[in-house]
Amino acid sequence: MLRIADLRAGYGAAEVLHGVSLSVAPGEILCLMGRNGAGKTTLLRAAMGLLAPMGGAVWLGETRLDTLPAHRVPGAGLGYVPQGRRLFAGLSVAENLDVGLMAGQGGAALREEVLDFFPRLRDRLRQRAETLSGGEQQMLALARALCLGPRALLLDEPTEGLQPSMIAAIRDVVARKRTEGVAVLLVEQRLDAVLSVADRVAFLENGRLAEEMTAEALRAERTRAHRYLGV
């Protein structure tokens, strides 16, 4: 479904990703792990077209994304939850969701469906996004991405700095989307969280894919992860 082939990207002349290939099947969660600065966020931004790739290709189903203008990528069915939430400050919760809805084909029905996942947001539709609590903001960032009815989701540390109950709520939503056949590429730093949701795990090291394995295999040999995470 989502296929990234030999992707190279960077900032200015400096290449940060030196040819990364991975693919995520429908209904699969691939967790991407790696140290700070390994290039995880860069990979997601390049896949979204927010960073002009220096080489390689990104496919979503039969659609080649990296040759599209960046603003056409979400319409092809790729939803993005960026690191640090990046909500539209000054816009209300409802308006943040509306921007997501505009990018996809779903109408009011999809909006209701998304809000059913997040009752806390339904109670705060008129509130400005930047006045939400950290956990609520993260929910809104996920809800906004779901509003475009994505076939694949890119999630960049969606549970960073949240308390366990919030983490569980977000994990449940992601798990639900998996059963609906959405392909999920999840950047996550904590091994426990990864093991509880992932189907497969990929380790990124200095802009290269160091190793890929099933969650099963990683569970059996947790110390393998320590090498790439430096813990």
């Binding site: 979204m48 077209g49 927010l50 203008p69 960046a70 603003h71 056409r72 990528v73 979400p74 319409g75 993005y80 960026p82 990046r86 909500l87 539209f88 400050a89 000054g90 816009l91 308006e95 509306d98 921007v99 997501g100 505009m102 990018a103 906004r144 475009l148």
Partner: protein, 306 residues
């Protein structure tokens, strides 16, 4: 004239200034807010609006000519701004510093082109209607309160219409930004350009339209004021300066702040000019800007940070 009626007269004159200033500054503020571009050529878009109004009213005489100017001038100036955006600002990637230099260049180009075609003269445009209205004043006479009609206390229907039209356009602008999809897209782009792109917003098209809309607002303001002020190729300097003052005091990118600051500056300019001198009015406005910059750099209504 006594103090009371005199003050009322000054307030009315100030309200006309404030109305036109609010429109002009709203355009500048919108462009800065959404695009982070400081448009030094904003005053020239204003000037072009006035000059185009003169051309149109020469071609079509009477009130219909003026009505036509109200439509044509903002449209043409807006279109010109869109072209300037696509050919100049976009190529500079909307870099904040380089666009300042580029719009300074645009300022001189527009000014010289106007001088070469329209000439150095100030030319009047006739107001579509201009009936004088005498205004009453309440005074305590020998037999209680009575309405009197002090000599010289009055205004014209046209001036009242300018205030009304500016208020209506600003309401429409607010509704557009707050209630329409296009307005939502503009506000989302203002909040986070990259995330807007990640949600399907064609940011460059939004920028072009924003720049056009900002210029059209300045042109519209100029058409409204030109029957009172005359059209001249150097007339853009004052509106530019005053708009910057208003936008800094109100908070860059904040529409309510822009409105409040425009009323504040417009009214005080009118009142101080009448009672003291126009120079003192400008000195005080500049002083206010300095105070705002020192004590509240984000402006009265602006959000901190970024």
């Amino acid at each position: 004239m006594e103090f009371g009626p005199h003050l009322m007269l000054a307030t009315l004159e100030g309200a006309v200034t404030a109305a036109v200033l609010a429109l002009t500054a709203a355009g500048l503020s919108l462009v800065f807010g959404v695009m982070r571009v400081v448009n030094i050529a904003h005053g020239e878009f204003f000037m072009l609006g006035a000059v185009l109004a003169w051309w149109v009213t020469q071609a079509v005489a009477g009130p219909w000519g003026f009505a036509l100017a109200l439509v044509i001038a903002p449209l043409l100036v807006g279109a010109l701004a869109v072209v300037a955006d696509v050919t100049i600002l976009k190529r500079l990637s909307y870099d904040p510093e380089r666009t300042i230099v580029a719009t300074i260049g645009l300022l001189y180009i527009l000014q010289q082109l106007t001088l070469m075609t329209y000439g150095p003269d100030a030319r009047p445009v006739v107001a579509p209607f201009n009936t004088r209205i005498a205004l009453p004043w309440l005074e305590r006479g020998a037999d209680g309160w009575a309405l009197i009609w002090p000599w010289g206390l009055g205004t014209t229907t046209y001036k009242l219409a300018v205030i009304g039209a500016a208020a209506a356009v600003l309401c429409a602008l607010w509704l557009f930004l707050a209630r329409t999809r296009a307005g939502l897209v503009m506000r989302a782009t203002q909040a986070d350009r990259e995330m807007a792109t990640a949600f399907g917003v064609p940011v460059e098209r939004v920028y072009a339209l924003t720049f056009g809309l900002g210029a059209a607002l300045a042109a519209l303001a100029a058409v409204l004021i030109v029957p009172i002020q005359q059209a001249h190729y150097l007339m853009g300097a004052d509106p530019l300066l005053l708009s910057f003052i208003v936008v800094i005091i109100g908070g860059l990118g904040s529409l309510p702040g822009t409105l409040v600051a425009a009323v504040l500056i417009g009214l005080s300019d009118g009142i101080i000019s009448v009672f003291f001198s126009p120079t003192l009015a400008k000195i005080l406005a500049t002083l206010l800007v300095a105070l705002v910059l020192v004590f509240r750099p984000q402006g009265l209504f602006g959000a901190r940070g970024r």
